[in-house]
């Protein structure tokens, strides 16, 4: 799964640690999601979407998806 988490975080000038604290996860988890090593669960993906005030499909897309 592809995601725009790193871009969205950079736009807000948040550190990984700050985003991790906002999502109540570890910094390693934020890093793993950003690098595509870990796909978040649906509840965590919705929490990310809610935090960035964007629809979930605007942040996450399947591998090879045209709307990434």
């Amino acid at each position: 799964m592809n995601n725009r988490l790193r871009v969205l975080r950079a736009e807000r000038e948040w550190s990984q640690a700050h985003l991790a604290a906002r999502l109540s996860v570890s910094r390693q988890t934020v890093n793993a999601i950003e690098t595509g090593k870990y796909d978040p669960s649906l509840p965590l993906a919705f929490a990310i979407a809610r935090l960035f005030e964007e629809p979930i499909e605007a942040i996450f897309s399947p591998n090879g998806g045209s709307d990434a």
Binding site: V25, Q28, T29, A32, S41
Partner: protein
Amino acid sequence: MLCTPNRFTWQLLGWASLSALLSLVSALLQRWDLDAGLLRWVVALLPVLPMVGYFLALTKWVRSLDEMQRLIQFEALLIQFGSTALFVMGYGLLAESGAVPNTPVGNLWPWIWLLLFVSWALGQLIVRRRYR
């Protein structure tokens, strides 16, 4: 446990230390000629009681982790379970065949504990690399 010390680390250390202390107490008490029966059981099992607290603290620690960290622990524990099970099975079969000494379980269990913790730590190192 490959993480920065937190309240769970201190709880785990506390329970493990209490178990070590009770091991000494148990060994001292067993110098006396205890009657067979309940008292001997209680004295021998004294160090096991704090380990109940240890595993309850461990459970609370795992439940406090986020979803990816829990997955890492799950996979690390699978590595621990597999390596320990294979070691015990292999050693048992070798002992049965006479290839290695048939060590009584009373002497073997501390080494199994050591293997449990070493394989858990190694398992975490292996699994964490995948998500780095």
